[in-house]
């Protein structure tokens, strides 16, 4: 490699408009995130059309700020990386369309990044010497997937949610219990004041020996139980939050540990917005300690959607010359990692 490689990353797959410049896949020179949480709060969840409208409104300011904070001019970058899957299609298209023409006008290569891979890579931005092979649990409002990674470039999905994502279940239950949006932090705060086990919720799919998840049933069970308890006048929102969080976290942590055992992993990684949940971190730590392997998770800022993880993860594709063409499209679904 002749010189330092600086890549601009652009991320618009859900409700954050983000841009970042990362040097050599490691050093974050700027990391700008324009969150739409307040906008979507009034709807109780992310509204795709509203998110897309915000992205087109904000994208230029966010990208411009990323360059300003890095103290760089547009032409100083070596490549433009953009999330092109999975996510809200209309939202993705704003980032992809912008990134393509920006790269084209600057005559720089374009790199397509899978959002999930970006989340995983957030760990590599902050931690050195992560040992392979590893399993990574990616959990957020949009996804719940378990991945096996042989090395930094080779990974496969070994399990995923068959219905709601974990973060989505948090959102829906939080909204149902009147705890607010986003649901993850809201449930976590309420759970701190409650006791798990006072209510009993199912550990869905914990009895199965695959690595898939299901949270829709847990969500419904929580809602039904809550309605019943309210009728009896015995409803305690804190205890309910604590039990719901415990039921969800236990399944995530235990199944991740089982995957680590089966695949002889030397590390466990957590990634995505729900990896910010302290109960999940605690439970995963216990499992990792039991297996005698290391647990890693990103700092809070890099757990939620950001573009540093996109710019960082594009570095290896840059080195390998894996560039995208002018007809790059966006895709709502995972497939083809």
């Amino acid at each position: 490699m002749p010189k330092e490689i600086r890549i601009l990353g652009i991320e618009t797959s859900c409700d954050e408009t983000a841009a970042s410049i990362v040097k050599n896949g490691k050093e974050i020179m700027s990391n700008v995130v324009n969150s739409q949480i307040r906008v979507h709060q009034q709807f109780g969840g992310v509204v795709p059309e509203v998110a897309s409208r915000k992205h087109i409104q904000n994208i230029v300011m966010v990208v411009h700020t990323a360059f300003a904070e890095a103290g760089m001019s547009y032409d100083d970058i070596d490549a433009v990386a953009v999330t092109n899957r999975p996510g809200l299609i209309g939202a993705l298209l704003v980032g992809v369309s912008f990134a393509k023409s920006f790269a084209y006008a600057l005559n720089k290569p374009l790199i397509a990044v899978n959002h999930l891979y970006g989340h995983i890579y957030a760990n590599f931005l902050e931690h050195d010497n992560i040992e392979f092979p590893l399993v990574c649990l990616v959990v957020s409002g949009g996804h719940t997937s378990l991945l096996f990674m042989q090395d930094i470039e080779n990974y496969e999905v070994i399990g995923e949610t068959l219905d709601d994502a974990a973060g989505e279940a948090f959102d829906k239950v939080a909204r149902f219990l009147g705890l607010g949006y986003p649901g993850g932090p809201a449930v976590e705060r309420a759970a701190e004041k409650g006791v798990k086990g006072r209510y009993q919720l199912p550990r869905v799919f914990l009895d199965r020996d695959d690595f898939d998840f299901s949270f829709s049933g847990l969500k419904t069970a929580a809602m039904n139980l809550w309605t019943k308890m309210e009728r009896r006048g015995e409803a305690n929102v804190y205890d309910m939050a604590a039990e719901f969080q415990a039921a969800l976290v236990e399944v995530l942590a235990v199944k991740t540990a089982r995957a680590a055992e089966k695949y002889k992993a030397r590390s466990i990684l957590l990634a995505g917005g729900v990896a910010a949940n302290s109960e999940l971190r605690r439970a995963a730590q216990i499992e990792a300690d039991r297996l005698g392997i290391k647990l890693y998770y990103p700092s809070l800022k890099l757990c939620t959607d950001n573009a540093a993880m996109i710019a960082g993860s594009a570095y290896h594709k840059f080195i390998n010359g894996q560039f995208a063409s002018l007809d790059l499209n966006a895709y709502a679904t995972m497939s083809m990692l």
Binding site: V47, V50, R53, D327
Partner: protein
């Protein structure tokens, strides 16, 4: 002044390069393929055929809306990327103005572009021509079909117009209705002029650029003419 016009507001994608004297290049695509795949290769071809680069372009024209929400954003995001990287100014042109510019500018007609807005509505406005200059006499909005028909009749009578020229894909779903209410006054252009044409938009954009009527790359957003579904429901207290 060399202008690059980019349109993806409707199922049509179009790119043109033109100056005050002539249209140098126009590409039009109404084949079912997503704009996000086709648009940038079209821009690249246009520049190559005209043996120029983005740096030779003075102004970039873009369809402002109304139209397909996603289509509008694909074009606008692309234009923002080009403009931010090169510093070239942007001019935004109404999709309805662009359609009306397909019409022969006769003084005895009303031009009514219709874009299908679903839910029994069309995005529309009404135009007249005087000394070759286009004038908007009814503002842009999402119109109920019958409400618009009344408005057209009113304007036709008060402005003493003989014909109503209808353009745009919003005509077809209600063709029978328009034929019935407008009778012999209805005129349709040849099929190739029923669609938004990037060259027509480019001509309007050149005139706007001449007047210094530029858009801000930071704040430019599409003219949707409609809230999102969720915002409507929120307004009605259903959420």
């Amino acid at each position: 002044m060399l202008l690059l016009a980019i349109d993806s507001a409707t199922p049509v994608a179009g790119v043109a390069i033109l100056n005050e004297e002539k249209v140098l290049y126009e590409e039009f695509c109404n084949y079912r393929k997503t704009h996000s795949e086709t648009l940038l290769p079209m821009i690249d071809r246009a520049l190559k055929v005209c043996a120029c680069s983005l740096h030779d372009i003075d102004v970039i024209g873009i369809t402002a809306g109304p139209g397909s929400f996603t289509g509008l954003r694909i074009g606008m995001a692309a234009v923002k990327g080009l403009s931010l990287a090169t510093g070239k100014p942007i001019v935004a042109v109404s999709t309805l103005d662009m359609l009306a510019a397909n019409v022969l500018p006769c003084e005895d007609i009303l031009a009514v572009p219709l874009l299908d807005a679903r839910k029994n509505e069309v995005y529309s406005a009404v135009y007249t021509f005087r000394y070759g200059t286009m004038q908007k006499v009814v503002e842009e909005k999402a119109w109920g079909i019958e409400e618009l028909a009344l408005k057209i009749r009113e304007k036709k009578e008060s402005l003493f117009k003989k014909y109503v020229v209808i353009l745009g894909d919003g005509y077809y779903p209600y063709a029978a209705y328009w034929q019935e209410v407008l009778e012999e006054s209805l005129l349709l252009p040849p099929e190739h002029l029923m669609y938004p044409r990037s060259a027509a938009m480019g001509k309007i954009a050149l005139a706007k650029a001449e007047r210094g009527d530029f858009a801000d790359v930071f704040t430019l957003t599409p003219v949707y003419l409609r809230l999102s579904e969720a915002e409507y429901r929120l307004g009605r207290g259903e959420l």
